[in-house]
Subunit: 243 residues, 2 copies
């Protein structure tokens, strides 16, 4: 790979879901590029539309990348396919609905339907959730190669609330239960006051390629919602098999 290309992509890779707009100095700090080089790259990316420059001189991801990314067939097709089922689930429950895939040891949210009157959730499309503390995450983790769990355990499990499962043995048992029940629960493990129940979206090859969840107030009966979310996940899975 050309040095220039690698460095150019490195600038883009500075941006994550919860990254606020970045200044040039912050991009320099994150990439290690000399200031004028970073300046030139940022200027070029901005000219192309891949970055937007704000009036205060900070940069954020630009519309050009949204336009290109929207063409990515793999996840566009999954989103299109899943959205009607997520709609049905939303209509039946009026809670928040999320669709996530496994990516870089996180659950990456690729579609989301919010009810502003349900529990507030912090996730956005393109945002990431911890695998060990969320419904969608546990589903994905339960069906991933064991090395992933091992790597997570080696890195340590962040305790997000006092309910978060942070002990390796407890998590392993929980994941076994996920595989057995075909769904996963998170009860105030990610955020106090919020719970979720998720089910796997299964590709015809048998691989779990995504997970769909309902996120609701912790007072809501997640067991009752479990049937609904599994039904939606089954519908999506069936659609993956084609007409």
């Amino acid at each position: 790979m050309t040095n220039l290309a690698r460095r150019l992509f490195g600038v883009l890779d500075c941006f994550e879901a919860d990254t606020p707009p970045l200044s040039l100095t912050e991009i320099v700090a994150r990439t290690g590029l000399p200031m004028p080089t970073a300046w030139r790259y940022v200027r070029e990316l901005t000219a192309w539309g891949g970055l937007d420059r704000l009036p205060d001189g900070r940069y954020r991801i630009g519309f050009r990348l949204w336009k290109l990314g929207a063409l990515s067939p793999v996840y566009r097709d999954l989103r299109e396919l899943a959205l009607p089922y997520m709609q049905d689930l939303y209509q039946a429950t009026h809670e928040n609905i999320q669709l996530a895939v496994l990516d870089e040891r996180t659950a990456l949210c690729i579609e989301k339907i919010n009810n502003l009157r349900s529990v507030a959730t912090r996730t956005r499309v393109g945002g990431r959730l911890p695998l060990h503390a969320t419904g969608v995450g546990k589903v994905l983790l339960a069906h991933a190669p064991p090395e992933l769990l091992a790597a997570l355990l080696a890195a340590g499990l962040p305790r997000l609330t006092r309910h978060t499962i942070a002990q390796p043995g407890r998590l392993a048992r929980a994941l076994a239960e996920v595989r057995e029940q075909g769904m996963a629960f998170s009860r105030q493990e990610m955020s106090l006051g919020a719970g979720s129940v998720a089910a796997p979206v299964v590709h015809p090859s048998g691989e779990v390629i995504a997970s769909v969840s309902i996120v609701a107030h912790s007072t809501v009966d997640l067991d009752r919602l479990g049937i609904a979310v599994r039904t939606a996940a089954a519908g999506i899975s069936r659609s993956l098999a084609g007409p």
Copy 2:
């Protein structure tokens, strides 16, 4: 701009919504790059994840760009804000719902809710619609600077069906009516058997920044749906003004 950056972006810019996966030879033809240069760029973009290489050697937009693009705040925020209202509209009508913005003389679809039992529509998120022949397009065109209409007329209005408005005078009158009524109709002008009604999403500054539509069978009473779509558009517009 560095020559390399410009050319690298040029490779990405080969891809449009209805572009099938492209072979290296096709990318060469579209960019004018020498074969080894294009080869190297494509290899680099693939290594980074911006392009995916299919087993048959053709390339398409990769997931990395989806992930980055999903972070683009401007349209992500609009989509998030609009989606609940689109949900409500879908729930009320069970027809296809689209949200589009003006981009490069087209209506660019940025969110879409399909009902598979309604009329089939060809549009996908990231796809483009002609301004003169669609509900969303006419809304955007009606509120755009007059130079845009002049440019479209100079380029000629493609006749997509026998109902498409292709005469400049008729279109100008239709757009005046859109501005007066606060909504636009397309009656089999885009596709035979399909019609749509759209309304403008207005920013607090007064600028029409998007348009939301219902797409249904041509047999459906669009006049009745007009009230609903205007209600949704008004809700989105109000949300733009903040809490």
